[in-house]
Symmetry: C2
Subunit: 129 residues, 2 copies
DNA sequence: TCTTGACTTAGCGTTAACTCCAGATGTTAT
DNA sequence: ATAACATCTGGAGTTAACGCTAAGTCAAGA
C-alpha cells in the first residue's frame, strides 16, 4: 500500500506517518525501487497499534522504546512486557481518575437542571405523593 | 492564601497558577494592598476544579469559555450547562475508547506471559484435569 | 517525450500549554 | 530600617507533536 492509502485507511496524514517512522514510533517501512514507501500488512498493524495506543495517551517515548526493543529480537521480550505492564497500570489509574471526573460532571450538570427547570421538581414531587 | 500556599496545596507551580489566571482558566484572584495575590476559598475551588478537569483532558479552551460565562452571571446558565454536557459526552466517549485499549493491553500482556512462562501453562493444565 | 501528480527528504513554522527569566516591588523577621 | 525572601509583570523560551514548503524524483498516460 502507498502512503496515501494508509493515510486514508487509518485517518492519519502522510506527514504524520512519515514523522512516526522518523522518530521510530513504527519500524522502518519497505520501499519500492523508486524509494517510495510500500506498506505491508505488518507495517499497517504497527500503524494501527500506534494510533490506538497514542489515542489512549500512551507516551510516544514508551512506544518508541517498545518498537526499538521489538526490533532487537526475542531477547527483549521481558523488557517489552514490562513496558506494557507499566503503561497498562498507568492507563488504569488514569481511567479511574477520569471516571471520577465524569461522575463529577454528571453531578454538576444535574445541579444545573435542578436550578433551571424547577417545574420538574414540582412535577416529581406530585408524582411521588 | 498566598500563591505559594496554593501552589503547594494543589501541586501546581506558581507560574502555572499565574498563567491560568492570565488566560482566564480561573477568574481573577483578589490582591493584597501591595498587589500580591490572596486566594480566597472560592479562588481555591476554581483552582481545584480546573486542575481536575484539565487532568481528565478537557480542553483549556472549553474551560476558559465556561469561566467567562460564569462571570457574566445567571443569564448564561444554559450555555454553561451545554458546555458541561458536551464535555461530559466527549469524555464518556474517550473513556470507552481507553477502556478498549486497556483491554487490548491486558490481552497483549497475557500473550507475553504465555510465551515467556510456558511452565505455568503446564501447571494450569495439570490443575484442570 | 512530456506532462501530471504522487512521492521523496530536509528543515523551518505552528500551536498548546506551560516554564523560565529579569528587574521591580511587596512582605517579614530581626 | 534593613536584610532576606516572596511575589509581581511582561515577555521570551521550551517541548511535544505535528504541519507546511521547497526542491527535486519517479511512474504512468497522451
Amino acid at each position: 500500500m502507498t502512503i496515501a492509502e494508509v493515510s486514508k485507511k487509518y485517518d492519519i496524514t502522510a506527514d504524520t506517518l512519515r514523522y512516526y517512522e522518523r522518530i521510530g514510533l513504527i519500524p522502518a517501512v519497505n520501499r519500492t525501487q523508486g524509494g517510495n514507501r510500500n506498506y505491508t500488512e505488518e507495517d499497517c498493524k504497527w500503524v494501527e497499534f500506534s494510533k490506538c495506543m497514542r489515542g489512549a495517551g500512551l507516551p510516544v517515548e514508551a512506544l518508541i522504546e517498545y518498537v526499538s526493543l521489538f526490533q532487537q529480537g526475542d531477547a527483549t521480550k521481558d523488557a517489552r512486557k514490562q513496558i506494557l505492564i507499566e503503561q497498562r497500570d498507568q492507563l488504569a489509574d488514569k481511567l479511574t481518575d477520569m471516571q471520577k471526573t465524569l461522575e463529577r460532571l454528571h453531578t454538576k450538570i444535574k445541579g444545573y437542571e435542578e436550578i433551571i427547570v424547577p417545574v420538574e421538581q414540582n412535577l416529581k414531587k406530585l408524582g411521588d405523593s
